[in-house]
């Protein structure tokens, strides 16, 4: 029995189809979701979503962050942006990385939320570069 996967960005519905398993980059570690998973709402970090069909990875998408809602039959990913790994630009990733690092360096060291936000951005940018390399 497959699980219905939906990937939505604010601008459009990117993907909607049943898959055997999906691996999503949750904030606290990669998470493989099979059918009948217990209901969860998870925060995503920058990373790659992998779709498994017939025991093989059939598609990989890079997301820069977002949320996912998991129910026994459905996985809904609300991604800030999602691009197939083949189309991820390494140059863009490196540009973002530089911007995020500059922001981190500029942030007030006492301002913890700002530091955290900058750190998240660095992490997302790094994931983007890695995704581009892997493709």
């Amino acid at each position: 029995m497959p699980v219905d996967l939906e990937i939505v960005s604010p601008e459009k519905l990117l993907l909607s189809r049943p898959v055997d398993m999906v691996v999503i980059p949750a904030a606290e570690g990669e998470m493989g979701v099979l059918p009948e998973h217990s209901p969860m709402i998870v925060l995503l970090r920058g990373g790659t979503i992998r779709l498994y069909e017939n025991g093989q990875v059939t598609e990989r998408l890079f997301v820069s962050g977002g949320f996912a809602e998991v129910t026994p039959r459905r996985v809904t990913v609300l991604a800030n942006e999602a691009t197939p790994v083949e189309q991820v630009s390494r140059a863009e990733g490196e540009r973002r990385m530089a911007a995020a690092e500059a922001e981190y360096a500029a942030a007030d060291k006492m301002d913890v939320p700002a530091l955290d936000a900058a750190m998240d951005r660095i992490q997302a940018a790094r994931a983007m570069v890695e995704a581009a390399q892997a493709a």
């Binding site: 939906e6 217990s38 709402i41 925060l43 809602e69 809904t76 609300l78």
Partner: protein, 297 residues
């Protein structure tokens, strides 16, 4: 009776106006299609977001540490109106109806002794409100010369609003915009953004949580999730308003330009009739002159 020449000039000028209005109508119609499909594409995300928020928000709303974005500052003194209009005119009452609603809301709130601040999104709204409510304006944003709105634009507005909330510059935030009901009906609407209104009986009838008969686990904890979800939700609300505004504007412009084209057609008909009458009167007059001249000989 105006001379033949002036009539000819007027007919020609109305004809070229008609050409412009009918071209504008075509352009608005094709832009409307694009704006509508963009608005439709944005709907799934907004729906899913609402569902998540419903299951999350219900549990957090009672807690004393609930984020400000969800429950507001607790006071009800300073209201921020985010007024969304188009950047361009020639769309009938589209912009002024939002302006009127914003003005009425301002008057109402002020008569209740509250302070009003206005953030104008769109050039026409800024111009309209500046005339009377300039002292309440705290800023404006516009997208002049841009082909289409994207999510980042909405995020900028949302970030600005959030920053103001954090700085304690307002207590309640309301969005005023034209809701796109259909191509011929755009309804000026007020929607409260902060404190975030949760769907009625969230959790119980709040969609997803109940439909699947499940209680969610959260990872990380609810508070961290909410802190991330709420700003995103705010941006989505703004994005939706911007898109509806864009679609509504094009629809209103299309209707207005259709009317203008029809009016120009009527006018051309009337002017042509006058022109022909004047021409005939002239011919008759000349004939009479020739005949009476011939008789006199």
């Amino acid at each position: 009776m105006p001379s033949l020449k002036t009539l000819r000039v007027r007919i020609n000028s109305v004809k070229s106006t008609q050409k412009i209005t009918s071209a504008m109508k075509m352009v608005a119609a094709s832009k409307l299609r694009r704006a509508q499909s963009q608005a439709e594409a944005a709907r799934p995300y907004a729906e899913r977001m609402e569902r998540m928020l419903a299951s999350l928000g219900a549990s957090a709303v009672g807690s004393p540490t609930a984020p400000k974005l969800l429950v507001g500052t607790g006071a009800d003194k300073v209201h921020l109106l985010v007024v969304v209009t188009a950047d361009r005119g020639l769309a009938g009452a589209f912009n002024s109806s939002v302006g009127r609603l914003a003005r009425a809301a301002t008057r109402r709130l002020e008569s209740e002794g509250k302070t009003v601040k206005i953030l104008a999104v769109g050039r026409k709204g800024r111009d309209y409100l500046k005339r009377e409510l300039a002292s309440r304006m705290i800023g404006d944003v516009n997208y002049v010369g841009r082909k289409s709105i994207n999510f980042a634009d909405a995020q900028d507005v949302a970030t600005r609003v959030t920053a103001m909330l954090e700085a304690g510059e307002f207590d309640v935030c309301t969005l005023v915009y034209n809701r796109f009901r259909s191509v011929i009906a755009q309804v000026p609407t007020e929607t409260q953004l902060i404190p975030t209104p949760l769907p009625e009986g969230a959790g119980a009838v709040g969609g997803g949580a109940q439909a699947d008969g499940a209680m969610y686990e959260f990872e990380p904890d609810e508070e961290t999730m909410l802190a991330r979800l709420l700003p995103q939700n705010l941006a989505i609300q703004v994005y939706r308003a911007l898109l509806e505004n864009a679609a509504g504007f094009n629809a209103a412009q299309m209707t207005a330009m259709d009317n203008a084209t029809r009016n120009a057609g009527d006018m051309i008909k009337r002017l042509t009739q006058n022109y022909n009458r004047a021409r005939q009167a002239n011919i008759t007059k000349e004939l009479i002159e020739i005949i009476s001249g011939a008789e006199a000989v």
